[in-house]
């Protein structure tokens, strides 16, 4: 399960990811991170069964946590199956099936947003 962890330096003084891993013993996979001097957000992937524990720990440490589902959505009417999105995705989330139809493997996506910009047909968007 993907969790978006946001924090500000005022509230969070510790390295929270490291702290959460140590305290919960759950292996956390960091998929994307944006760290500014005063705040930051980190997209993490954790095993479904440990999501609750990790969530609680992060909140205890002062961060806000939200669960992410179905991040990138594709408008099937706009999509022409050109494939322009395939090679720009760092996670190889897109591929063609045997009929040259585009398929999207959601769980791979780390929400970098590159494909949204690259799609000439405006078929991809971010579901909030």
């Amino acid at each position: 399960m993907k969790l978006m962890v946001s924090f500000s330096r005022k509230k969070v003084s510790e390295p929270i990811i490291a702290r959460a891993v140590m305290d919960t013993g759950v292996l956390i996979n960091v998929e994307r991170a944006r760290i500014e001097p005063t705040e930051g957000d980190v997209l993490i992937d954790v095993p479904d069964e440990s999501a609750r524990t990790v969530c609680m720990k992060m909140r205890e440490l002062g961060a806000t946590v939200s669960v992410l589902r179905d991040a990138i959505i594709r408008d099937e009417d706009e999509c022409v199956d050109c494939g322009a999105c395939i090679s720009v995705c760092p996670q190889e989330a897109f591929s063609f099936d045997s009929d040259w139809k585009l398929s999207l493997d959601q769980p791979r996506c780390v929400l970098c947003g590159r494909c949204i910009q690259a799609c000439p047909h405006g078929a991809l968007s971010l579901q909030k």
Binding site: V80, C82, A84, C85, V88, E92, F96, W100, A118, P120
Partner: protein, 509 residues
């Protein structure tokens, strides 16, 4: 019965008769190679009557002629806008041509000529605005009205340059992302983007232009269209022929005409196009037996901002379609800009049309001139080079001089940038007034120029076009470029000031 074809030729009339009788054997260009491999060329000629091709991709060189009918009082439209996209009005009074890539005056690259065309085909109404100076016979000066496609007298698509025989694949060797008409190109050759349907591509199946030429009926945008002749910039002698095509917009379908925007490049239109190839002789059999493995193109480096971009390697469509290729020992992801699924749909639809007898085939009334080739532009006013505008009096500093010396030179030289040289007089860095001020304001143990200089220097050469140098300044958000010779010795400086003088409003310093 088919023995009469033992002469190894079939006339177009025989093929059309078969189509009308419902006996024609029609296959797509994807099916043909296996048939030829299985039956042999001569049997394939007897067996197959028509091979259909198809492609669906970005065709920037597209547009449509319109006739809107006369207003009352009548107007001789001089400038015309459709949903704020300007159409060319320099033809008869109420005629105009809208180009697919023309952008809206109000919405920029989110809406353009291609969107106007797609909206019209989809049954949406558009706003026509036109102005004129008024004449005795056409007194009206302005007109504004909302129109549906059915309100037009004529709406004729005309694509001056379509259906490229071959198109380069693209990659990008620079260290920044490029936004091009070949899509998003990742830095350091991070991906390869290609276009074209390969085995289904019309001209790839008739590279000697035996059955493709003026007057040949085609599938265009979901309707029956026609090849006008060779397209603009067609270069059959170099294997890059193009076609000019036309069709009735009122019969087209949004399934096969789609507006699109390439980020950072602009508006374009995706067009579905297919040509039915009558199998009249062994030459046609052989050329339609081509496979993706046999069709090659070059991977071109779009990181080079000049017309003659280097080709990094040749590559077959089979490799490109596999999704991964090898480039300089690295595995690189590939993806297409054109849709192969849609290309198949075009070829299949065309196959249906022929089988149903709803399209008559014809041979070219005028053949493609195989000797023709395109030339680059003859430029009478050469693009200015850096050499012509650069500052030749350059104050430099060496890397082991003290920062205080740099401060003095900056003051005296009335400049904000000092190129830094090593013992061999080669460029190794640059210091700016800002670097020096910072070092003086926060004194620490850094005393020599080498401690505060920027080592990654963006530079230019005397022969570089000033437009390219201007792009470098813009992109890196800097205001001066050292000009170096091949030995990396500084021979000048190019500043925003020099460029501002030359390029004026277009490049604001």
């Amino acid at each position: 019965m088919r023995d009469k074809y033992s002469t190894m030729e079939k006339s177009i009339d025989e093929i059309n008769t078969r189509i009308h009788d419902g006996n024609a054997r029609v296959v797509t260009a994807e099916e043909m190679p296996d048939i030829v491999a299985e039956l042999g060329e001569e049997a394939a000629l007897r067996e197959v009557d028509v091979v259909t091709t198809g492609t669906f991709g970005a065709m920037c060189s597209s547009g449509a002629f319109f006739n809107f009918g006369h207003a009352d009082p009548p107007i001789r439209m001089e400038r015309v806008w459709l949903n704020d996209v300007e159409a060319y009005g320099g033809i008869a009074a109420v005629d105009a041509y809208i180009g697919a890539t023309q952008q809206s005056t109000t919405q920029g690259d989110r809406y353009g000529g291609a969107h106007v065309i797609e909206d019209l085909i989809s049954g949406r109404s558009i706003e026509l605005r036109a102005i004129s100076r008024g004449t005795d016979c056409y007194p009206r000066r302005t007109v504004t009205t909302n129109l549906l496609l059915e309100d037009f007298n004529d709406a004729t698509m005309l694509n001056p340059r379509n259906a490229y025989q071959c198109y380069n694949a693209a990659t990008n060797s620079t260290d920044r992302i490029l936004h091009t008409y070949m899509g998003t190109l990742l830095p350091n050759c991070g991906n390869v983007s290609y276009s074209g349907a390969g085995v289904l591509s019309p001209l790839a199946n008739d590279p000697t232009y035996r059955v493709i030429g003026s007057g040949v009926p085609i599938f265009l945008g979901g309707a029956q269209g026609m090849i006008v002749g060779e397209g603009t910039q067609s270069s059959p002698a170099t294997g890059f022929a193009t076609l000019m095509t036309t069709g009735d917009l009122t019969r087209m379908s949004p399934d096969y005409i789609r507006a699109a925007t390439f980020q950072g490049y602009g508006v374009t239109m995706y067009v579905g196009l297919g040509v039915p190839l009558p199998v009249t002789d062994l030459t046609v059999v052989r050329s339609t037996a081509v496979r993706d493995e046999d069709l090659t193109t070059g991977i071109v480096d779009y990181g080079v901002p000049y017309r003659d971009r280097p080709t990094l390697r040749r590559i077959s469509y089979a490799e490109l379609k596999s999704g991964r290729i090898e480039l300089d020992g690295e595995e690189v992801k590939t993806s297409s800009l054109s849709s192969y699924r849609k290309a198949r749909e075009v070829a299949e639809t065309l196959k249906n049309w022929v089988e149903m007898g709803s399209i008559d085939l014809a041979l070219p009334t005028r053949r493609v001139d195989r000797t023709r080739r395109t030339h680059p532009m003859r430029e009478t006013n050469l693009v200015p080079r850096v050499r012509e505008v650069m500052e030749t009096k350059v104050v430099c500093i060496t890397e082991d001089e003290p920062i205080t010396e740099a401060a003095l030179k900056l003051l005296r030289g009335e400049t904000n940038h000092l190129p830094v040289l090593n013992g061999d007089h080669r460029l190794v860095g640059i210091v700016t007034t800002y670097d020096v001020t910072k070092a003086v304001a926060r004194p620490d143990d850094r005393v020599a120029v080498r401690d505060v200089m920027t080592r990654k220097v963006v530079r230019t050469t005397p022969e570089e076009a000033v437009d390219i140098a201007a792009q470098k300044l813009d992109r890196n958000n800097i205001s001066a470029l050292p000009v170096v010779d091949p030995q990396n010795r500084v021979i000048g400086m190019l500043t925003a000031l020099n460029l501002g003088k030359l390029l004026g409003g277009r490049w604001k310093a």
